[in-house]
């Protein structure tokens, strides 16, 4: 109680950088872009202090290629960008999905498409984060809605990427990235760090893509004596290209099944005032902040409304909504896009409750009063 000095003022982007360091990230390659630049700036300072590496690359294609290489070399890696850079990363993101290379991409969203509104908030990259790279692939997308969560979710992102050998996206909006808040972060010793499983058999017995009982194959680092092949072609357990339909099926389905096994753990959802709720607001990122403020006002006027806060967007935590559907009359989905998660909520709802959206794409945030007004209109 007396340790008030442990509080500090911290920016969302700064919290991501602190989270990366706490999680054990020791390699960052990136290209600065608003509104994510602070992450690169801070890590360029801090990583070398602890024996880590920072490289400013020529562009975002090079950035993701570099962290893929570092991850194969055994490092925990991260890069940070915004929409235009995230677009450039899509090809290699698909490569990392198929070759099952752990890495974390932080996308601090700005208004798009194209160069858009570089300094203004948006949540327009939700579907790009899911389907931006071609082909069927699993992806984990986490979205923090406070400065403290930016720290904790970055750690979780690194841990999930290591555990499931899969790229993880931290999808943040400019509001959370740039806002500063009073935070009290745990000491490093209290932070859980997950490390990828390494092979323990002799190198000559190692099959790089033979899944263990967990659904994930042990990953050897290049340079450790395990010689193996990595390709963006569909491959067999040895890592060599194959066109055999059953091997191709095992390869692609295996990618999905490892994430399905971890579904409950990966889905971060919080519920606020949902016990007796007849109406719900489903929100993520900065919209959670508006929704919480609206919730307080709506409850005061006697409307039984609660909040389902999505910390994971992909895989979509459908159970969070399904669980409450029997008691809900209406659901509002406020988003700084044209309704990307709204469509998912519609899909899960399957006609049971009345679903409405509240959208904004002009570079400003939806204020609490607008949510209050919309919910009151729906309830009436």
């Amino acid at each position: 109680m007396s340790k008030k000095t442990s509080y500090q003022l911290m920016q969302g982007n700064e919290a991501v950088a602190e989270g990366a360091l706490a999680a054990g990230v020791s390699f960052f390659a990136g290209y600065p872009i608003t509104p994510s630049t602070e992450i690169a700036e801070i890590l360029s300072d801090r990583l070398p202090e602890t024996g880590g590496k920072f490289i400013q690359m020529e562009d975002e294609i090079g950035s993701i290629a570099a962290i893929i290489g570092a991850s194969i070399g055994g490092r925990k890696t991260l890069t940070a960008t915004s929409g235009p850079g995230f677009s450039l990363m899509q090809e290699n993101l698909g490569f990392a999905c198929l070759t099952e290379i752990p890495l974390v991409i932080v996308n601090v969203m700005r208004v798009g498409p194209s160069t858009g509104l570089p300094t203004s908030p948006s949540q327009g990259d939700v579907m790009q984060a899911r389907w931006g790279t071609h082909g069927d692939h699993p992806i984990i997308v986490l979205t923090p809605s406070s400065v403290e969560e930016a720290f904790h979710y970055t750690i979780k992102a690194v841990n999930f990427s290591e555990k499931y050998r899969n790229p993880v996206i931290v999808l943040m909006d400019e509001v959370i990235g740039h806002m500063r808040a009073r935070v009290n972060l745990p000491p490093r010793s209290m932070v859980e760090r997950v490390n990828r499983v390494q092979p323990n058999m002799p190198p000559e017995w190692y099959l790089p893509y033979e899944r263990s009982a967990t659904g994930v194959a042990p990953m050897a680092s290049f340079g450790d004596g395990y010689r193996y092949h990595i390709t963006g072609l569909v491959h067999d357990a040895k890592g060599f290209p194959t066109t055999n339909p059953s091997e191709a099926r095992d390869n692609i389905r295996g990618l999905f099944s490892k994430i399905e096994r971890g579904f409950r753990e990966i889905c971060l959802v919080d519920y606020e005032l949902m016990e007796d709720a007849e109406h719900a607001i489903i929100a993520y990122g900065c919209m959670v902040l508006s929704a919480r403020s609206a919730l307080e006002q709506l409850r005061k006027s006697g409307i039984k409304v609660g909040l389902i806060k999505l910390g994971t967007l992909w895989p979509f935590p459908r159970f969070a909504i399904e669980h409450y559907l029997p008691q809900l009359k209406t659901i509002l989905v406020p988003e700084l896009n044209m309704g990307q998660i709204y469509r998912e909520v519609l899909r899960v709802n399957a006609g049971k409750a009345v679903i409405e959206k509240l959208n904004r794409v002009n570079g400003t945030i939806i204020a609490p009063d607008e949510i209050v007004k919309t919910v009151k209109g729906m309830v009436r």
Binding site: L9, S293, A367
Partner: protein, 194 residues
């Protein structure tokens, strides 16, 4: 809505140091053991263009991080004054830097030529943001002067602590003069070379 929450907006042009001022004010609030959220909005340019920092200080939790109806507004450009004076709560405190604001929308504003007086005293406008913090602290008491002094010293570049402390004191002096003048007292303008 809640009496325990104070919303502050510092608005002007890029390069005036308003975001830095916002961070310092937020850090001072933490030293006062308050809850605080600071956010900002700015254009793609490094200098020029509109720039705005917002600080919400509260005893309890803060949900929405942006100021909607502000208790304290500092305008350091005509555009900022024009755009944001309507967002001021009834009874809110409106401080305008008359160096850059020629048309003041209300007589209840506290009109102080912050930048030009800073230039006269320190030879440059660099310290205007810290002078403005001194003005805000004196007129609103939103943070304690001890906390603000500590926050300024912690944030400014090494070797400039003394000058920044002077800038803070100078701001408080300007505020006292202006308050006196606003209260209808015969306040003569005290020259800045103390």
């Amino acid at each position: 809505m809640k009496q325990t929450q104070t919303e502050i907006r510092l608005a002007g042009s890029g390069g005036q140091g308003l975001i830095t001022a916002g961070i310092i004010l937020a850090e001072a609030a933490i030293l006062d053991n308050k809850n605080v959220v600071q956010s900002q909005s700015y254009g793609p340019e490094a200098r020029g263009g509109a720039s705005r920092a917002e600080i919400i200080i509260a005893d309890g939790p803060i949900y929405f991080p942006k100021a909607t109806w502000v208790d304290i507004l500092l305008a350091m450009s005509q555009k900022a004054s024009d755009q944001y004076s309507f967002d001021l709560k009834a009874g809110g405190i409106f401080i305008v830097d008359t160096t850059y604001v020629n048309q003041i929308p209300t007589s209840s504003a506290l009109a102080i030529p912050i930048s030009s007086r800073t230039r006269e005293k320190f030879g440059k406008e660099l310290f205007s943001n810290i002078v403005a913090l001194g003005v805000i602290c004196e007129t609103t008491k939103v943070v304690s002067i001890q906390a603000l002094q500590a926050a300024v010293s912690a944030r400014v570049p090494d070797g400039t602590e003394k000058l920044n402390k002077e800038a803070l004191a100078f701001g408080r002096k300007l505020a006292k003069e202006a308050i006196k003048k606003n209260n209808g007292l015969e306040a003569e303008v005290i020259e800045a070379d103390s």
